[in-house]
Assembly symmetry: C2
Homo-oligomer: 188 residues x 2
Amino acid sequence: MTAPEQPARDHHVPYGHEPIHHGHVFAVERLRYRDEAGRELVRDIVRHPGAVTVIPVTGDGRLVMIRNWRLSVAGWLDEFCAGKLERGEDPARAAARELEEETGYAAEHVRGVGTFYTSPGFADERMHVFEARGLRPVPRRLEVGERIEVVVRTVPEVEALIADGTLVDGKTIAAFAQWQLWRRARPA
Amino acid sequence: MTAPEQPARDHHVPYGHEPIHHGHVFAVERLRYRDEAGRELVRDIVRHPGAVTVIPVTGDGRLVMIRNWRLSVAGWLDEFCAGKLERGEDPARAAARELEEETGYAAEHVRGVGTFYTSPGFADERMHVFEARGLRPVPRRLEVGERIEVVVRTVPEVEALIADGTLVDGKTIAAFAQWQLWRRARPA
């Protein structure tokens, strides 16, 4: 019997996943890989379960947004409602849940717009973007530690807030851009 | 002599910054804060030095982009060139540096477009967006471990890649959207 052949290690393909930190929201893993010259390199990567964000559109075409207190930057950010995926949770279901919890609206229709990576330089977080329509008020259910205000804005208002540097949440800017291009490709 | 008065702890303002991990690119800090009810809550936050991304515009209005091998997602992403800030580095200077290193173009003019947070739910990384014009070829100087191809695209091509879900780098989508709104607000 021969020993199983050692799989070839492609350069730039990580191996040696060493757990560094495991927290409530994310973990950190130390990866090793080799470059073309065979040098071993080490990078730390944030492992994140992924997240959803929702663009809720009212009957007259305005967007339900939030002002969200962000501990990471110790300030209020203008955002679309969002939240991380629970283990094994369907993104569309998570979107409907976060919409209700954070804005106090339930949606008749939740449709997938697209996805993107928020910061692939150091993290694998994938953001799933949804559009929600057919909104009706329901009780808000903020999670412990959340501090959120709801604000409804027109599309030109959102564009102006991005252009003047007031709206600085990258996920919200990217989701808004993706949604506008998605809508343009799918005329009603 | 009376003891110095304990400063009032505003709810939702973090205290007790405990270092958890310190790596080459980012650190992790455990923050404690109290909610309105006085409950102590704990959150881990990624501390990042910040980064720059550059939208290089050719004389005929096309955009110089890269295809970038990303270890975090083990795949190639379509992106604008980008890189993290070195300690104390001026963002505009970092933008000029990353442009030269990754794309092989030097720019006559580098102008600030805006900034955003890439993932404020768990990280404080701030992305500084620049437009570069007056491009001339220089030698590329990839850093050890980088794997990057240069590709030049028209604005409609970039929009199509975002709309069809091929371009999934959030920083690139957000920077592109910010740049288009910034240009609209500053007609030539």
